[in-house]
Amino acid sequence: MSYKMTRDIIKNSLVQKIEELSGQNVFDCYQCGNCSSGCPVVDYMDIMPNQVLRLAQLGATEDILNSETIWICSACLQCSTRCPKGVEVAKVMEALRSINLRKRIGTLDPKKIEIEDLQNLPPIALVGAFRKLTG
């Protein structure tokens, strides 16, 4: 299926929302891939961090919001540190998570966590999950 591009799709309201929440200009990215090459969890992602930026440039916001990548991201800020154009990729990831969380997508309900998991998970993972998944 071809991806039909129009001027309305480029910089659509969701792209503008991402830019507003993250404070980043996604068009600054020139696709060098330094963010992805430095990411410690890139192997577990379905799309790479640089592709997240690229899809945002093309206005393909659905592809990003439905990706596993934004949840795999551990916000370690490697990407933001490495970016030669000063794009804070981690902030873009955070913005994407926020957009989903505000729609109540991907939130974590503490009551639904299995007691066994609660006993086995390291406390820092739980803190991280609450921090990331409760909007």
Binding site: Y3, M5, T6, I10, R54, L55
Partner: protein
């Protein structure tokens, strides 16, 4: 017998790595004529040259063989060293044991054997070398510049400002070239016409410049420093002195043809002025389309012309001028877009090439600088630019990169966005090449701030659906197949040498590369000269380049010419043909063979003669002479046979 010194260079490990220099030194030490032999790490270094100078005195040498790199590199270095010691520079021979031996072989034993033979041939040649002095000839201190684009104009102005006369020959009715067609220039976005027209006016007013517009080179004869050129000026059919530029003629002319200046986007009449700022400022008649050459058919413009400036009976004029040097600045054309059928050029009026889009952007263009598309005059809201259209495509189109398209396309997209704020430019690209000063910043700023979307991939096809041009492409960064319904498509066509460059090159006897661009004498160290003495290159005739590079090269060529013109005479190599009058039967075969017109027949004496200044020492006449009467100085038959004998006896 001459006392010959042999110096073998290691060239670091370039020679020593594959040639056993110690072994050769021993082997050649006893060769007849060798008075001294030595090997050294770098003969071209100052200590290396000093070694030669010291040994010349110590061992009373009267000839030197340096076994080293190609003579094109250091022959003059060593000749100068000999001359310092009052030995004639022609008593030096260079044995090339690097390019012709060590670099091309790997077997040490075999390459050592070959280097030994190469050195011995050089010794044999040197034994019979005569001491010669350069030939001097007068210099005509006038320069011919061919091509009135930015490169030709810059070169002409620089030379004229230096105080020497220039003839500027332009094929078209006006100078200005392609630069005068451009809207704004990257990366500063200054108006092309605003920076070009002052230079055009300066050409017209300069006391040292004679402008031949509407003219072409018919022939060139002579030699470096003293050429005779025949320039054919096509008639304008309008007397520039009488023409008041009132424009009454075009109003009555019934013939309309596509305008060259507007790249076919508008029409002009058969009598026309190319553009308002034309230099020379005059109307002209296009003979191919005018009906007036049949007086029964039409004389409307002549009837309308109040100052009576129009004359259908003007004839072409031929001028013969004497010049000392030539700068070739014949420029470029865009690769013909007919070749790009897959992008619908020629079929769809809204598929344009880069120069046509320049005209639409230009304030003097067909839309007065407003952004309208050609088919229906609507404002295009989505515009697709396709870079590398027919470039970097060795299978089907041009194999090379035209260097300017990345930047001009970006400029187009940017200027489009300036005119249509809610419009969306898309640029399909394979790579973005922004190597010039401030070019990368120009790109980054456009992408970050102007909302120009770059899509990495080539477009496979363009076709029309209703009012839209459907563009099928690819974004290889995401793997998405892209489809855009565009209102207009602009093809970034590459550059090819301007039409008829091949014919001019034949007249001037210059070399071109496989793509038809003129070849420089050395790609790095002599980029503004042709290998043929007296010819210099400037601008896109030598290869694709942008305005700053074309201007730099033009000024560089002008500096070379000015250096030449500051001499009162030119010197010429004394390695020329000579005739043994006792053996010459006057058959004249040499006269027909000589490519330089240096051989003539003395009818009274019935012998062939040599014009030393014209002779380039190519040896063609010597090889065809049936009586062996023609010989080359310092490369006589005897020398050549002695050299061959080294190999046959080996």
């Amino acid at each position: 017998m001459k006392r010959i010194g042999v110096f073998i260079c290691h060239c670091g490990i370039n020679i020593k790595g594959t040639v056993d220099v110690e072994k050769i030194t021993e082997e050649i030490a006893d060769y007849p004529g060798v008075a001294y032999i030595e090997n050294y790490i770098f003969m071209c270094s100052e200590p290396g040259q000093k070694l030669i100078r010291d040994v010349i005195i110590e061992h009373k040498l009267d000839g030197v063989v340096v076994a080293a790199c190609s003579p094109t590199l250091h022959e003059t270095t060593f000749q100068d060293a000999l001359e310092e010691m009052n030995i004639n520079r022609h008593q030096l021979e260079v044995a090339n044991i690097r390019e012709q031996c060590s670099w091309v072989h790997t077997d040490i034993e075999e390459s050592t054997r070959k280097a030994n033979l190469i050195i011995k041939t050089a010794i044999e040649k040197l034994k019979l070398n005569e001491s010669l002095t350069p030939i001097f000839a007068p210099l005509t201190k006038r320069t011919l510049v061919i091509g009135g684009g930015i490169a030709g104009i810059q070169a002409a102005l620089d030379i004229a400002d230096g105080g020497y006369e220039v003839l500027l020959v332009e094929r078209n009715p006006s100078i200005g070239g392609h630069m005068i067609q451009l809207s704004e220039t990257f990366p500063t976005l200054d108006c092309s016409q605003c920076i070009m027209t002052p230079k055009m006016v300066a050409i017209n007013k300069h006391k040292n410049i004679k402008l031949y517009a509407n003219s072409e080179i018919e022939s060139i004869e002579g030699f470096f420093g003293n050429f005779k050129v025949r320039i054919k000026r096509k008639p304008l059919y309008v007397d520039p002195d009488k023409c008041t530029l009132c424009d009454d003629c075009t109003a009555v002319c019934p013939v309309v043809v596509p305008s060259e200046y507007d790249e076919g986007l508008t029409w002009r009449k058969a009598i026309y002025i190319p553009f308002p700022q034309s230099i020379p400022a005059t109307f002209t008649i296009d003979t191919e389309n005018c009906l007036g050459f049949n007086p029964i058919a039409c004389t409307k413009c002549q009837d309308a012309c109040e100052p009576d400036a129009i004359n259908y009976d003007m004839k072409p004029e031929t001028f013969e001028e004497e010049i000392g040097a030539v700068i070739v600045a014949t420029g470029f054309d865009l690769n013909p877009v007919e070749n790009m059928a897959e992008y619908g050029y020629g079929k769809y009026p809204d598929v344009l090439n880069g120069l046509q889009f320049e005209r639409i952007l230009s304030a003097t263009g067909p839309t007065g600088g407003e952004m309208f598309r050609p088919s229906d005059g609507k404002v295009p809201k989505e515009v697709v630019f396709i870079q590398c259209s027919g470039s970097r495509d060795p299978e089907r189109h041009l194999p090379y990169c035209s260097r300017i398209c990345c930047m001009y396309t970006l400029k187009h997209a940017k200027l489009y966005k300036h005119k249509v704020h809610d419009g969306q430019p898309y640029i399909f690209y394979i790579d973005i090449r922004s190597g010039g000063k401030r070019y990368e910043e120009f790109v980054q700023q456009a992408v970050s701030e102007d909302g120009i979307v770059y899509i990495r991939g080539k477009v496979s096809r363009v076709y029309r659906e209703g009012e839209k041009m459907i563009v099928h492409g690819m974004d290889t960064l995401t793997g998405k197949k892209i489809e855009i319904e565009a209102d207009m498509v602009v093809l970034a066509m590459g550059i090819i040498p301007s039409a008829d460059t091949d014919k001019l090159v034949n007249i001037l006897r210059l070399n071109t590369d496989e793509n038809g661009f003129l070849v420089e004498a050395h790609p790095k160290l002599r980029p503004v000269e042709s290998i043929q003495s007296g010819f210099y290159l400037a601008g896109t005739a030598q290869g694709p380049k942008d305005i700053p590079d074309a201007v730099s090269q033009a000024s560089g060529a002008a500096a070379k010419v000015l250096a030449l013109m500051s001499n009162d005479e030119i010197s010429h190599s004394p390695i020329v043909a000579i005739v043994n009058e006792d053996l010459c039967s006057g058959c004249g075969i040499c006269v027909d063979t000589c490519p330089y017109g240096a051989r003539e027949l003395d009818i009274i004496e019935k012998i062939a003669t040599v014009n030393d200044v014209l002779c380039e020492g190519c040896g063609a006449c010597i090889s065809v002479c049936p009586a062996s009467a023609a010989q080359q100085k310092n490369l006589t038959d005897e020398q050549i046979f002695n050299m061959i004998r080294i190999y046959t006896n080996a």
